[in-house]
């Protein structure tokens, strides 16, 4: 089988790219190992809701038109939203086509799948950023009596034995899971390293509304100091809920979750926690306040008095004077550890030499170091919002423009932003 472009992955990112390729009349298929929105269907916990408000999932040719723009989608609603997008844009999706390898050919790539081989000139990798849960190597030292789960395996607290639970990691996943498990009656100890604290609501508006309005989400990858560092910053401590509650560390302390430092080692069946907890919490408070300062400055310049609530600051993160530095994993009642220690993409099927010494894909803003190959949907790919559904559109527009130029034999710098007027309406 032959086509011009193969898009791998029929999630929001692959579908946004499909729409942009369609706008440019570029012949393509979207290969999906399972069904549309597969990871949303199979790799998310039951109570999870999107962290971004409904209005903020704008995709090329598609947007929210319901009556609850400030609500947060449940997983079934998210799946329905993405399935509907695939229909609206008539995406040429081939479901149950698992890609087994991608390799170079004379004029492009051969994409081998469970349903046969595709020859193409260009390929777009849109298989997601969270395929594999990262688990620290020290997990190997754990006594076998302790059950472990990653966020990809976690569904709800009923999976977990009664007794104390250690949650490792305080990003969006770690804090939400810690809250849910603790509320189920299993007391949680939360071990945390670097984390990003934000309030759900500030001055009467959702933090994501502010980040969008102020321009934080549009920050471009060439405008940040150290893109490798920024791409590894943990996700914001946020949850989507009707009551718009916070899941920051103070909120967790309020319900009885115990905070300890970063898990630094396991020796003789004893977990050792770093003594740097206070500094990490102070850093997160300072960073949050810099974001709030930026919002306040923007309000002063762009909004009238009284249009939003007055500025204020949140209580600093409360850290006990001497947090525990260790925990006995045999005698204490710890039964389960949740590794909420981040994710990485799985490109193991990619048989093209584009990986750096740490196994990361080498790319410049999604333009992979192999002509005609593109990457979508990873944190800060091109913009701070690249990992959001709302970020897929601008990235797909830019990268489809680069892809089109490549097909025409023209050279465009990877950081070029798309200038082509596009159809933004429909649906």
């Amino acid at each position: 089988m032959r086509t011009t472009t193969v898009v791998i992955g029929a999630g929001h990112a692959g579908l946004a790219m499909s729409r942009c390729l369609g706008d440019r009349s570029i012949d393509h298929v979207v290969l999906e190992r399972g069904e549309v929105a597969n990871t949303w269907k199979t790799e998310r916990w039951d109570s999870l809701r999107l962290l971004t408000p409904n209005w903020q999932s704008r995709l090329p040719g598609y947007e929210y038109l319901g009556d609850d723009p400030d609500g947060f989608r449940t997983m079934p609603e998210t799946i329905a939203f993405i399935e509907r997008y695939a229909e609206v844009i008539s995406a040429p999706v081939r479901t149950n086509s698992a890609v087994t390898s991608v390799r170079r050919s004379d004029d492009g790539y051969v994409v081998a799948t469970s349903q046969g081989d595709w020859q193409c000139r260009t390929v777009v990798l849109a298989t997601g950023a969270c395929n594999v849960a990262k688990v620290p190597t020290l997990a190997a030292e754990l006594p076998p009596s302790i059950a472990t789960l990653t966020p990809l395996q976690y569904r709800n607290p009923d999976q977990i034995e009664p007794g104390r639970v250690l949650v490792v990691g305080a990003s969006a996943s770690g804090t939400q899971i810690a809250e849910e498990i603790h509320r189920s009656g299993r007391p949680v100890t939360l071990s945390l390293g670097e984390h990003v604290r934000v309030p759900r609501v500030y001055r009467g508006r959702d933090i994501k509304w502010w980040m969008d309005a102020v321009g934080v989400l549009d920050e471009f990858y060439t405008d940040v100091d150290n893109i490798d560092r920024v791409r590894n910053v943990p996700s914001l401590q946020l949850a989507g809920s009707d009551e718009r509650r916070n899941v920051d560390l103070n909120a967790l302390t309020d319900i009885g979750v115990r905070l300890v430092g970063r898990l630094a080692g396991i020796a003789d069946c004893k977990a050792q926690f770093s003594g740097s907890l206070l500094n990490l919490c102070q850093m997160a408070d300072l960073k949050m306040n810099r974001l709030l300062d930026r919002i306040d400055e923007w309000v002063a310049q762009n909004m009238g008095d009284g249009e939003v609530d007055p500025p204020h600051r949140f209580e600093p993160t409360r850290v006990e004077a001497s947090p525990p530095l260790g925990m006995d994993l045999t005698s204490s009642e710890i039964k389960t550890i949740i590794w909420a220690t981040g994710f990485r993409p799985d490109h193991s099927w990619l048989d093209v030499p584009v990986f750096d010494r740490k196994g990361r894909l080498r790319h410049d803003g999604g333009v992979v170091e192999s002509p005609g190959m593109y990457l979508m949907g990873i944190p800060f790919l091109r913009r701070r919002k690249s990992s959001l559904i709302d970020g897929a559109g601008d990235d797909a527009r830019d990268l489809s423009a680069h892809l089109a130029a490549h097909l025409d034999g023209r050279t465009v710098v990877p950081s070029a932003r798309d200038e082509m007027p596009t159809l933004r309406s429909v649906a």
Binding site: R262, G265, A267, Q272, S276, N279, M283, L286, R290, S322
Partner: protein
């Protein structure tokens, strides 16, 4: 690129540090360092450490001169007090590491420092080292560090500099995290 002349001068060559960072990103093997110290017993609890050579950037390196440090225990420990107590040297090492970091981070953020002073306290229950109570650890119960900084920056900017210095400090990491130590006798 900014062409504004940088007038902040904390005496730290940040450009050289940033160049080294770039070079070592390309050649991570050159980033492998080994630090060394020698120690010789003098008499009683008095011993003398020397540092001179270390390994880094792929080859043997030398300090500009040999540095020596006398350590002993004070008279309340029935010692002759020929030098600092080893635990005080740990406090000094932590302070020097954090202060060096503060100067470098401030330089990089174009914050002119006028004075930086730190006071450190390490609380210790010596029932541990005397073997009186096995539940008491030998080391510090905790360490408190207080900085007073006079600089052209807001209080939050200075807190952020000190926080970043802790984040990048070798001794802060050594003190707050476990390290495997092997001691051999020949």
């Amino acid at each position: 690129m900014s062409t504004t002349k940088n007038i902040t001068d904390n005496g730290v060559n940040v450009e050289a540090l940033l160049e080294a960072r770039e070079a070592l990103t390309q050649a991570p093997e050159a980033a492998q360092f080994t630090w060394r110290a020698k120690n010789e017993w003098v008499k009683g609890t008095h011993s003398r450490s020397t540092v001179e050579g270390f390994f880094g950037l792929g080859e043997e390196q030398q300090h500009r001169s040999r540095f020596t440090f006398d350590a002993d225990h004070p008279e309340v420990f029935a010692s002759e007090d020929h030098g600092a107590t080893p635990v005080e040297m740990v406090l000094a090492g932590l302070a020097s590491c954090l202060t060096a970091g503060i100067a470098a981070v401030a330089q990089n953020r174009q914050i002119q420092l006028r004075s930086v002073t730190a006071t450190l306290e390490g609380a210790m229950d010596i029932q541990g080292i005397l073997g009186i109570d096995g539940d008491v650890r030998n080391g510090f119960q905790g360490i408190k560090v207080s900085y007073k900084i006079d600089a052209d920056a807001t209080p939050d900017e200075l807190k952020a500099v000190v926080a970043q210095s802790q984040k990048r400090s070798a001794v802060f990491d050594i003190v707050t995290n476990p390290t495997n130590v092997s001691v051999e006798v020949s």
